[in-house]
Symmetry: none
Subunit: 196 residues, 4 copies
Amino acid sequence: MARPSNTLRRREQIVDGLLAAMVAHGYDGASIVAIGKAAKLAPGLVHYHFDTKAEVLLALVERLVQQVRARYAARAGDRLDAFIDAHLALGSDADPRAVAAWSIIGAEALRQPDVRRLYRAALASTLRELKRLVAARLREQGRLTRNAGSVSAAIVSAIEGAFRIAAAAPGSLPAGYAAPMVRRLAHSLVTAEPRA
Amino acid sequence: MARPSNTLRRREQIVDGLLAAMVAHGYDGASIVAIGKAAKLAPGLVHYHFDTKAEVLLALVERLVQQVRARYAARAGDRLDAFIDAHLALGSDADPRAVAAWSIIGAEALRQPDVRRLYRAALASTLRELKRLVAARLREQGRLTRNAGSVSAAIVSAIEGAFRIAAAAPGSLPAGYAAPMVRRLAHSLVTAEPRA
Amino acid sequence: MARPSNTLRRREQIVDGLLAAMVAHGYDGASIVAIGKAAKLAPGLVHYHFDTKAEVLLALVERLVQQVRARYAARAGDRLDAFIDAHLALGSDADPRAVAAWSIIGAEALRQPDVRRLYRAALASTLRELKRLVAARLREQGRLTRNAGSVSAAIVSAIEGAFRIAAAAPGSLPAGYAAPMVRRLAHSLVTAEPRA
Amino acid sequence: MARPSNTLRRREQIVDGLLAAMVAHGYDGASIVAIGKAAKLAPGLVHYHFDTKAEVLLALVERLVQQVRARYAARAGDRLDAFIDAHLALGSDADPRAVAAWSIIGAEALRQPDVRRLYRAALASTLRELKRLVAARLREQGRLTRNAGSVSAAIVSAIEGAFRIAAAAPGSLPAGYAAPMVRRLAHSLVTAEPRA
DNA sequence: CATGAATGAGCTTTCATTCAT
DNA sequence: CATGAATGAAAGCTCATTCAT
């Protein structure tokens, strides 16, 4: 009578542990022991379910990306605004720990090729979807869509920059400012495009 | 005096070593030995001229900030465009290693309070100057200046985001795209402000 | 529990390793590697069971103090003589390594505040008990007890001095001389006190 | 026209530097740089005048021994009391830094064979002279001199113990207590010897 | 599956000593 | 003689990873 595998649950628990430890002490400070402590698990178990510490981080990145997608899908109303809000993690389903973690992940992407790959993929997917939304909006307003890519790039840059500033220089920008700021920015850029 | 002091030169050399090692292997990967190797100096010498590794990083941050200021001052033409260009390190005096380093510094600011302090100070100073330039531009065009702060915040976010993306997800945005993109963004935001 | 904890045993082993390494090479010479070698353990294990090297020393101090107390308690006969003998570690339960270690500890107390605290506490406790014994002896002999404190101080000084000399200038005093010498000294001082 | 050698003066200066640095930060804390700073000399000069750091310590030990001898010679009155007082560094020519240094030297003797040799020699010379004084006193009082050695050993132990306690557990014994205590101890021991 | 002890490589930092100037 | 930069060998400590139980 083998006991049923709880691997999936354990993996989630460990990823949670990394999230908590990372937000509290940074990625380097999130030692295996610290992750285990945060997850209320023995350190050895972390390596039973993940080969390396880096793999845990990759699992966390994937989870955060899924969460943003789910948040976007769940959000009603104007799609462009919903997209911006979902990425800036605002509204009733906000998760400040996820925001902090995403900043740290952007930093780790500088050092870990695997993280970089996931980060880049997430960014590419974001850009693709955003370009679709921007193009649709431009068409609605009877404007040319040839600059949709560049407009999207500007929006994504502002989103990522808002993350970076919020994490690295908290207080430099007013709290809760990011989403309205980026929304307005999107609106301005769209409106500046010439009519067809 | 028997032995003329070459401390200043050596400190610069070590800061250069950190820059090189950091761009190549990240801040953690830039061990004292690696810094020494990059600077062609014995590892012990790093600690002869700097008390801690963190101090070397602080010296590098200060140098990069000075470089941006010097670049802005040296640049002719429209001040707002010059400011954006200087910060995105474009043009004939570009330094791709500095760009990469600035991204890493933003990441280190998450973990090292002293780096955070410098980073925040640099950002605050950037915001202040930018707000001045934006307000001036708005006045020139006979527009209200009440949103100058928020416009500046958007521009700075886009600049920092461009850095982050360039470093963490190279190739996601077209090369050399950042400056024109942020310039256009600045123009759109200014133009969107209502006339006085 | 999968892996039964052997922490207590390991800690004792490490403390033993420090004792051995310290007696052989002094406290500074007792590097983590040397302690590990003496304990037949991997060096990393020392820091798994103790946060710092200083903590190992503190554990050793505590153990030595306990040993002296136990020796005194176990010893029969005249309490004052028993006390002196127990502190000078003579008799069948002698431990020459402990004698050497205690000297080194007195030296380390000069530099490490935590060691100093323990050393001082041990000394204070010794003085207190000794004063009690001396006063009792004085009363037995119908003498005034007002100088019991000063007599005790002299005895303790002689004990500590004997340690210091035995360790720092071995051979200066005849071996096995310390206890009789201090016993006689105690006797003389007591006898010199005036009758009530 | 060669400049006159100032080697002797420099050596004194360096020994002074070690004394100051040692009292302030212990022997290990007295790095060559620290010694140089205390002596207002460049670190390289220390090694010009002394081959090793240990040699500086040996010079200091020799100087302290000379000072005690000089103090004893200069002191009038009862020779035994003068001897005790001179060794406990009391009276108008007291030097608290020398007292502290002597304690540290006793500790260093545990680790450095050369220091141990000097320390032992100093102790032997002290014992020899003390035995002479004790024997003379016993004869004056018409007592047997056969225990003069053991009495002297007790006195020397008490002196060294007082040093050790003063340094390692300051406050455990009342200040200024050492000399009277040891004097009384000497008196008791002498008086306890049987008449011839 | 789970535990937590064990390993050893690698890190920053200190410092006696050397030596070019 | 004097300076202070330069060297390199330790040292203590951290930690991802392994593995006996």
